[in-house]
Symmetry: C2
Subunit: 321 residues, 2 copies
């Protein structure tokens, strides 16, 4: 248990389901109060006048033990009276909001309209729900992922939910990123000299991690961090476990492989974790092959521990990059 005795905190960058799982694992294996999660908000959008933050919510519900495990989003034991009544009124049904989940959207929107920042609301909500890790939205400013497709530029949720990732992707834009600032605490978390590791979770590199890195100052802060930076591949055996990462890589003319992900993060990371299925991947940087598929809470903790052990052994390469 070498990792457990290491001093210092851990920062993880994460997006949706896969990222939330590893974030949950990290939260289970590091001391309380030492984990900071920088979460993608490029998927955020206004729906029915409500501010919905899908990735923040997935991470929050996962770490609070409230997440629905089968569905992959929203709360367990959810009810759907709101959606049924909304449809009866002629409201839009393409984006599903559960009855309990709605409380978070309504409350957050109300607090934001009252002048609170997304960071402040996130801190309040996670505190209330007993989440031990510190959740940091990548920015309190609006950054909105736009997917360039053969059906034209699409707002993220339009691409992801309404069109179920069917359009062919040619690129991405992160609207608002140029002028966005990292949320309070984000740069300081990465600048912490006692930091033990920075982990890029197995989230979609294009849709979950790149929006975070698109916020001015983020990429430099990751490069400058004192800790080893480790990414975990979301591609396992040439496939994405969930979501459109593999489809998108194919559409962009990239090989659907862990190596492509490692290349995507070149210059930013010191080490790379691939799945045991990809143990023979040829990578230009230190790597380790581990079972990365997280089916249970124990899998999450086991992977988190292994990733931190790997990070602890890594030489610093970025100084030369």
């Amino acid at each position: 248990m070498a990792a457990r005795t290491e001093p210092g905190g851990v920062v993880a960058l994460c997006g949706g389901v896969g990222g939330a799982k590893l974030a949950h694992g990290l939260a289970r294996v590091v001391p309380a109060g030492t984990l900071s999660l920088i979460v993608n908000t490029g998927d955020d959008f206004a729906h029915l006048g409500l501010h919905v933050s899908p990735d923040l919510d997935t991470v929050t519900y996962t770490l609070a033990g409230l997440a629905d495990k089968r569905r992959g989003w929203g709360r367990a034991g959810e009810g759907w009276r709101f959606m049924a009544a909304l449809e009866a009124l002629g409201g839009p049904a393409w984006f599903r909001l559960g009855d309990g989940d709605l409380a978070l959207h309504v409350w957050r929107t109300h607090r934001l309209r009252g002048g609170a920042t997304l960071s402040e609301v996130t801190a309040e909500v996670t505190e209330r729900l007993g989440v031990g890790a510190r959740l940091l939205p990548m920015s309190d400013d609006a950054v909105r992922t736009v997917v360039e497709t053969d059906a034209g530029p699409l707002a993220f949720q339009d691409y992801f939910v309404r069109r179920a990732c069917a359009p062919r992707v040619s690129g991405f834009r992160f609207r608002g990123a140029e002028t966005a600032r990292p949320a309070p605490g984000v740069l300081a978390a990465l600048a912490d000299h006692g930091l033990r590791a920075v982990v890029i979770c197995p989230s979609n590199p294009f849709l979950s991690v790149d929006p975070i890195l698109a916020v001015p100052g983020m990429r430099a802060a990751v490069r400058a961090t004192a800790a080893p930076v480790v990414a975990v591949s979301p591609i396992v055996g040439g496939r994405a476990l969930k979501g459109p990462a593999a489809k998108i890589m194919g559409e962009l003319g990239l090989a659907v492989s862990a190596a492509t992900v490692a290349e995507h993060y070149a210059g930013l990371i010191d080490g790379f974790v691939v799945d045991s299925a990809d143990a023979d991947a040829v990578l230009g940087l230190p790597a380790i092959a581990l079972p990365t598929v997280m089916r249970t809470a124990r899998d999450r903790a086991r992977l988190a521990r292994a990733v931190l052990r790997f990070a602890a052994r890594l030489p610093r390469r970025r100084a030369a990059a």
Copy 2:
């Protein structure tokens, strides 16, 4: 069944539960498309950033057959996951919003923010829910009932829900009424020369009907209407069936009686309907005693028919007033 063969439409002024019941009865006994309901919006308020219209909703749900009969507000078969989750987040719990009910508030608020008027949203919603009557908010402008009490001036929902009508009442103000305009269709409905009756439902005179009459032009329009105007007493045997009407009358130094209600509407009505329990009430205008307590849908229709028959026999007195 003389009332059924009468030509022309019916207009009813109504507020909460008692009013909604008679409105429902009227909707059952008049031909489809001939009933217009002018509904109090003085109880409307913004809660969690949502526009809540309690009286419009009670009337809508009652006429759509969706109302919870025991609780007296909201929808039957309602769920409470939203409230439970909201409380867990530290949100306010004093005003209960059911999971299905929320759809109406969220959808209405979204449409209003998009530029629709309350009348337009009400028309869409009632059409969608198969409500045959025409529901007209008294005004599309904000009129907000303020209750003057020994605890100071209180916003209506603060008085009515949060403080459960406990403070002692000394008067009422209808904030915004001076500059409010009757909603489109309201004055035209009352000016219809073919009108058969105007019914003031057994709603709270101070909190449900007076806000309607406080909108400039409303009182004159009721006085000028070609049809007989009939009010139904919400006071039965010296008590209010529901709500704070009797308590308020006592606090205002008024006798808690049907006669006090008739006096309240003096100059505005041609006839008055009291409950059989108040058959000996001494009133200065034509009156009839009927069983006014509506326990079943049949009670509602029976009372509606009797009220319309009574109206049909009334001499016009207001011309002299």
